[in-house]
Amino acid sequence: MAVARPNGADHALLYVPGRSFLHRLNPLTKLALVLWCAVAAFALPPQGTIPLALLAIAVGIFAGAGKVFARRLIFTLTPLALALFVVHGMLVDHEGARAAVLGLDLSHDGLAYMVRILGRIAALLSGSLLFVCTTHPARLLKALDSHNFPPGMAYVIASPLLLLEPFTQRARAIREAQMARGLDLQGSFLTRARAFPALLMPLVTLALADIDHRAQVLDGRGFRAMPHRTVLDAPADSGAQRAARWIIVLSIPVLIAGGILWH
């Protein structure tokens, strides 16, 4: 994957518990909003995307997720901003005026392009963060489940989220065990490269070993015996939200047209 990731990330969810209005919205409504946001991020010029991002950030802070927003936005935007500044501000041969600032030869168009990209990413990121921080995956899956989303797909989303923590712990245990046996993780490139199979093979073998049994457990409990499932405590939905979702989705072409005109 070609976008910077935080090192040694712990895989806790980005979800921040809370009781805000956003938390209580049906996840599908929020998904519609994310979609709208994503289109807006591409359709609108910076004069639109940046206020949109700021609005999303404000709502995020209000919903109690300020810390997560700050961390993710800084981690993602800072290296991008730097790289964009160098690549477009300085290097790429943009047409148009150039300016000399602090001894650097900068392109006006390049900087404008940088702002445009940053605005777009900021809007995209804040919009998705609003969804992810206020929606626990369990609720998203129940919302999908109760709207006849294929149970097989729901399983392939839910199961990894649940298995990630136990398997990461096992990976850590394997690492401790191997290090106790003398495996060196600090040495030269070749030493470290040799450590790779010793760490991952036991884990992968373990992970694959119980597939057969797990599949049997699922089948034994009637998994996919019926095309849909009964869901307990599905997230509340309402006519108003359903209508809102339609309006949001149908407004997207308008959004695109408006964006084109705005440019």
Partner: protein
């Protein structure tokens, strides 16, 4: 296209393998991501459709737990899984030599898919190490798209070849009782 329960469980486990092996690569400070081992595995064992789906869902889950913007690269993961399945079908995972070739093909094509995303969505940068290479290539006079492509290609080639080799090693070691449950694997048996 209905997948059987065992394939679904395989996909779920493969997604976990994607993330955790990528995490191990960070632990040993490998300069490669190696976060598609599971995707390739599914392609070999269950075919291109399952492989592609595994890739897409990995990105989706990654977006939920870590970095929503990284989820935008789902077409790349889709292509990796699909290609692994298609090449497996053609028997490219029967020997170590062909596996390396498969890794090269996947590396090249996944870069081709990634470059438009990097250029048009991110302005040509990734926020990661390859940006230095991109900058260097621009400075010596290359165009933006070519710079991005070349800069990312080298890393991607190494990454995908290593990924395919690891997946091949894993599959070779699986007991027959396991692999006989995945008919698609028949195309990769030597």
């Amino acid at each position: 296209m209905k997948l059987d329960t065992k394939s679904l469980v395989l996909m779920a486990v493969a997604i976990v393998i994607n993330v955790v092996v990528g995490q191990i690569a960070v632990w040993i400070k490998l300069p490669l991501y190696v976060d598609a081992v599971g995707t390739v595995l599914v392609g070999i064992l269950a075919g291109p459709f399952a492989g592609a789906l595994t890739g897409v869902l990995t990105n989706l889950i990654w977006g939920l737990i870590s970095d929503p913007v990284a989820a935008a690269f789902f077409p790349v993961s889709l292509v990796i899984g699909a290609l692994a399945g298609i090449l497996a079908r053609m028997g490219w995972f029967k020997s170590v030599g062909m596996t390396i070739a498969a890794g090269a093909v996947i590396g090249v094509i996944s870069t081709i898919v990634a470059v438009p995303i990097i250029v048009y969505m991110f302005g040509g940068v990734t926020g990661a190490g390859t940006d230095f290479a991109t900058a260097y290539l621009l400075a010596v006079g290359q165009e933006l798209v070519q710079s991005v492509a070349i800069a990312n290609l080298v890393q991607n080639l190494a990454d995908k070849i290593l990924t395919c080799l690891i997946a091949w090693l894993i599959v070779k070691r699986l007991p027959m009782r396991f692999t006989s449950g995945f008919a698609f694997y028949g195309y990769s048996k030597a």
